[in-house]
Symmetry: C2
DNA sequence: TTCTGGTGAGACATCGGACCACTTGAGGGG
DNA sequence: CCCCTCAAGTGGTCCGATGTCTCACCAGAA
């Protein structure tokens, strides 16, 4: 095993064992390198890797720290990974979303505070009728993000956030606007909100299933048509 | 933005844009470093990070390649992340599993081939009555892994695989054996298998919900008791 | 002809040292 | 008491050299 991988494992072990608590500061690179028995260059490779997945937080001129290790932090690296999938597996991601998000909506209908529900409504209301594509996407992301967070389960929220990668979402919206389905989507958003506000988990779940399932069905048709047109 | 992060983005862009296809070989470190305008050391940090999340595959003496980018590869980095969560958020992960896995079981009841179902039965049957803890865990992991894979959705399968981290699973099984619930768990596994074999998605889903929900409930009680005992 | 073993080129692995850039906090000046 | 300056500490980046591994090529034996 390369020394770098070994270093990754050792740092991970230090964290899992509790020697390094969340928020703790690591020894300076030179010292840690000596302690782990490798050069500073190799150690930096390990630190960089752990930094990419948000386990470590390096601050130039200050030091290297263990992050909070909160699930949302660690899981947001998921978005980075999802970006690599453009066409082929986007449907599979959407399918997973169709499973998770309705469940999240049902949980949100029980768990969300009245204030949060009101804010969710504000998000939808803030969208003007002649919004640009970027605004549509941003608004859509914000709505679904708050919905997921409203489930009360941070892991579920982050997971949904991650697999709803901006890239894939942008492509879908581009297609939807072309077909003039923007208004229908907004109505579905509104219906989900109403169901949550009425504290009806079953309705919230059903509407979310309809919402995601509709996008899924449309995308399935689009990809199929594009595939046959190309093939 | 540090040059290393910049390099990560550029390499990612090269892959997403199609300039580097899955399986393609990257230019040698020296050349790529020059092209991206940084030193070999800094480039290596970027490569190491992308290698940790299974986007690049570095082979000493040969070269650096883009992986297949298959979702199972990319998502298995998830397991690494989950390992950092011991007590606090394990319940949230289990809750997500309780949402995903029943859906996967239902899909498996429709999609799995007769051969795969037979193999799934073999897995359960291969467990002896006086199996050790390690054998129990390994068998349990194998069963759930095949079940998730049987859904036909690679993303779903890998996601389930990732959040069912070996660490958390081991701790749960240790507790279950102490309470003598091994036999009940095995019966539930058997029931899930029977439902799938009978091509009954509804039954498979229900049994899986019962199975995961039972573990969840038990764990919730255990953690609560431990917490109050400590607090 | 085919298989085997050696050999060398090419690629990544690792190292040590040097210098740059940034953050922070102490200490002096207003 | 507040603000500015500056020096120490720490990560950021680079260079050049050496070690090690993989693979392809080729000569020699079966």
């Amino acid at each position: 095993m390369p020394v770098t991988d070994e270093a990754i494992e050792k740092i991970k072990a230090m964290i899992v064992s509790g020697e390094l608590s969340p928020g703790a500061r690591l020894p300076k690179e030179a010292d840690l390198a000596e302690r782990l028995g490798l050069s500073r260059n190799s150690l930096r490779e390990a630190v960089k890797a752990l930094s990419l997945i948000r386990v470590l937080d390096v601050r130039q001129g200050d030091g290297t720290y263990v992050t909070s290790l909160a699930p949302d932090l660690l899981l947001d690296a998921l978005g980075f990974v999802v970006d690599f999938h453009q066409d082929d597996t986007v449907l599979e991601f959407l399918e997973v979303r169709r499973i998770l998000e309705p469940a999240a909506a049902a949980m949100a209908a029980r768990a969300m505070s009245d204030e949060d529900i009101a804010e969710l409504g504000t998000v939808l209301a803030s969208l003007s009728d002649d919004a640009s594509l970027d605004e549509l996407i941003e608004n859509d992301l914000e709505f679904h993000r708050r919905l997921a967070a409203g489930s009360g389960n941070a892991v579920l929220g982050s997971l949904l956030d991650g697999i709803s990668g901006p890239t894939a979402r942008a492509r879908i919206w581009r297609g939807l606007t072309e077909e003039g389905a923007v208004e229908r989507t907004r109505q579905q958003h509104r219906a989900i909100l109403d169901a949550i506000a009425a504290r009806r988990p079953d309705l919230a779940q059903a509407w979310t299933t309809v919402h995601i399932g509709g996008v899924e069905q449309w995308l399935r048709g689009t990809l199929g048509a594009a595939g046959s047109a190309l093939g």
